[in-house]
């Protein structure tokens, strides 16, 4: 029987019924301390430190603090220092604050080449789905599971159902992978992919760059999906080639990887078809990523919604967001712009944003910042002069980390501030208590920073 890529990945890693072997375990400071404590209390060791990699990202300051011991916030300092001690004790390689390889865990994996096709990859972070862009089975886990993987290099898993989302056609000019995934979540809902490993397919996906594919897979979790994945192809192989962790016998690896894609005639539990050509630049208006409209549309009217639950949720969201139904999205004014996060902080994202802001100035009413996804992204951007482009336009240029995507470090919104953000979640309080987040692509965020309100990037110049 023809197999899906998911079937192949699952079967190649099944140690015994429901027990899956993990090829790479990524670790960060927030979801690991209790797991290491658990190991110590039970007198257990880390089974495969050589398949484990750690970095500090979630609550590191982005102001130039270059060592854990110098972090001003005491709790953050303790957490990063705890990670350093744990990695030292258990022999796990760590790129902490001060390392030239430090950065957001989902940015540095692909950057170092440790993310490769055919692997199982987990991390105590829901956006681990990002790595599925390489044809890997990658998903987020909780701290008990982090401890389980540290101790056994395996994970107890129920086999998820499979879903394929096929995109016909091509994305229009100015329409980005971020818009594609936001439009998809808008259509399927925030619970639309629950219980499924999702494969993104079709011509519009095949023509995406690797960073674009990562953006799409990254937000799978916002649709509730267990994992997102895309078949590896020449673009995937070219990305991995030459990176520090690339396989020594690269041609043999590529030969193996070519056998991964879903076979003709394989069946999925759920199939969805979307016309990529009909997707527009998207902006969220509410407090879930599924509350999203085309930028040319207006804030929706809850009264026009069929289900009482949706109506109530929309009313609450509009009250929180301080928006009136019927307001055109292009008239929504902003105080903040954040370009960063594991969704959109790679060098390609920064290049796209820089091309928009070059020679222009950030609106006087807006405070805008760029937070590169990793130290390497930052170094590349600086070598290309992008930092000068951003700074000349009035953007702040920061150090690498998760930053204002979740506001665990000092980069937060103050109550009532409205922000165009290239991150992945517009939940209440996500970027700071009372903060109002609108999710957009890097280009849309950059243009919004210049104008002080959202614009349709397709007819903006």
């Amino acid at each position: 029987m023809p197999k899906t890529m998911f079937d192949k990945l699952w079967e190649a890693h099944e140690v015994s019924d429901g027990l899956i072997y993990i090829d790479l375990h990524l670790v960060h400071e927030v979801t690991s301390p209790q797991a290491f404590d658990g190991l110590r209390m039970a007198g257990r060791k880390v089974r495969r430190a050589d398949k484990t990699l750690a970095t500090a990202d979630h609550n590191v300051p982005t102001d130039g603090t270059m060592a854990a011991r110098l972090i001003a916030d005491e709790l953050s300092r303790v957490q990063v220092e705890t990670l350093e001690r744990n990695c030292e004790e258990f022999g796990i390689p760590l790129y902490s604050l001060g390392s030239e390889r430090q950065g957001i865990v989902h940015v540095i994996g692909p950057e170092l080449g440790v993310t490769q096709p055919g692997m199982t990859i987990v991390c105590g972070d829901s956006h681990t789905s990002t790595h599925g862009a390489f044809g890997a089975l990658a998903f987020g886990i909780g701290t008990s599971e982090v401890e389980h993987v540290l101790a056994t290099q395996c994970l107890v898993q129920k086999r998820p159902k499979t879903m394929r989302i096929s995109y016909a056609g091509e994305l229009g000019a100015g329409v980005t992978p971020k818009d594609l995934i936001l439009a998809t979540i808008g259509r399927l809902g925030t619970g639309g992919m629950v219980g499924h490993a999702v494969e993104y397919a079709g011509p519009a996906i095949e023509s995406l760059s690797m960073p674009g594919r990562m953006t799409v897979c990254n937000m799978t979790i916002e649709g509730g999906g267990r994992a997102g994945m895309i078949a590896p192809d020449e673009a995937t192989f070219e990305w991995v080639r030459g990176r520090p962790a690339a396989p020594r016998d690269f041609d043999a690896a590529v030969e193996r990887w070519r056998r991964l894609p879903t076979e003709e005639g394989a069946s999925f539990d759920t199939e969805v078809e979307i016309d990529a050509g009909e997707i527009s630049p998207m902006v969220t208006w509410g407090t879930t990523p599924g509350m999203v409209v085309e930028v040319t549309n207006a804030v929706p009217d809850p009264a026009a919604m069929d289900s009482p639950a949706d109506r109530e949720a929309a009313e609450r969201a509009l009250a929180y967001m301080g928006l009136e139904a019927g307001t055109p999205m292009t008239e929504v004014a902003l105080e903040r712009v954040f370009i960063g996060s594991c969704t959109n902080s790679r060098i390609e994202d920064l290049r796209e944003a820089a091309a928009i802001v070059e020679g222009r100035k950030v609106a006087g009413s807006v405070r805008a910042m760029v937070v590169p996804g990793s130290q390497q992204v930052k170094a590349t951007a600086e070598a290309e002069g992008l930092h000068d482009v951003f700074r000349s336009a009035g953007f702040e240029w920061r150090e690498a980390g998760c930053s204002m995507c979740l506001g665990m470090n000092p980069d937060i919104l103050i109550e009532g501030e409205r922000c165009a953000s290239t991150s992945n979640r517009n939940f209440e309080g996500r970027q700071g208590k009372g903060g109002r987040t609108h999710l957009v692509s890097p280009r849309m965020a950059a243009a919004a920073a210049i104008e002080g309100h959202f614009v349709d990037i397709r007819d903006w110049s």
Binding site: L19, T190, P244, K433
Partner: protein, 187 residues
């Protein structure tokens, strides 16, 4: 973890869909390196702003897609530390559901109508072995995977169970199936 068998008592209700883990336990409380003491920060902003009131009853009835968003296990820790032993909802986010079962907090899926009935009844009895929720309105069945049920009923440590099977992991590794991937310690 503690074994759980029967959970009985009053019901608290949070009638909202898509409640995300950022609401359940906001990020400023994730900086702690301990596993306990999160209960006082449960729904911190919503409770402090008077948006919701919650009694620490044994059972919480919640809306669909409960626990979506971040994988933070701090969310189930906070719910359990606050006093909940079971959460009844029409659906849960995958990672949250799994996290609950790892710490002995029972997630039970009932359809919307039955969730409403349990909420209205105000009291319920949940039998993990029988997979039933009983309240004044009737007896409703839910499903739990056999291995999860076994662990919950016996309070078993997942890692301990897997390590009993260490021979299978050794065999998998020595077969070469785990080779060929990146070696992080050699970077």
């Amino acid at each position: 973890m503690r074994p759980i068998d029967v959970i009985e008592g009053k019901v608290s209700v949070l009638n909202r869909a898509d409640v995300d883990t950022d609401q359940i336990i906001p990020k400023q409380f994730l900086k702690r390196v301990e596993r306990t003491g999160f209960g006082e920060f449960l729904f911190y902003d919503w409770i402090r702003d008077g948006e919701i009131e919650l009694e620490p009853n044994p059972i919480l009835v919640a809306g669909r897609n409960f626990g979506c968003g971040s994988s933070r296990e701090h969310a189930p820790w906070a719910l359990e530390d606050f006093g909940f032993q079971a959460i009844v909802a029409p659906s849960f986010a995958d990672i949250f559901y799994s996290n609950c079962t790892k710490i002995g907090l029972l997630p039970a899926i009932l359809d919307e109508e039955h969730c409403r009935a349990v909420a209205e009844a105000g009291e319920a009895r949940i039998d993990v072995d029988d997979e039933t929720v009983t309240c004044a309105a009737g007896v409703f069945e839910f499903a739990v995977e056999p291995d999860v049920k076994h662990r919950l009923l016996n309070g078993l440590d997942d890692i301990g169970i897997t390590l009993e099977n260490a021979g299978a992991i050794d065999a998998f590794e020595s077969s070469g199936a785990a080779d060929g991937g990146p070696v992080t310690t050699a970077l």
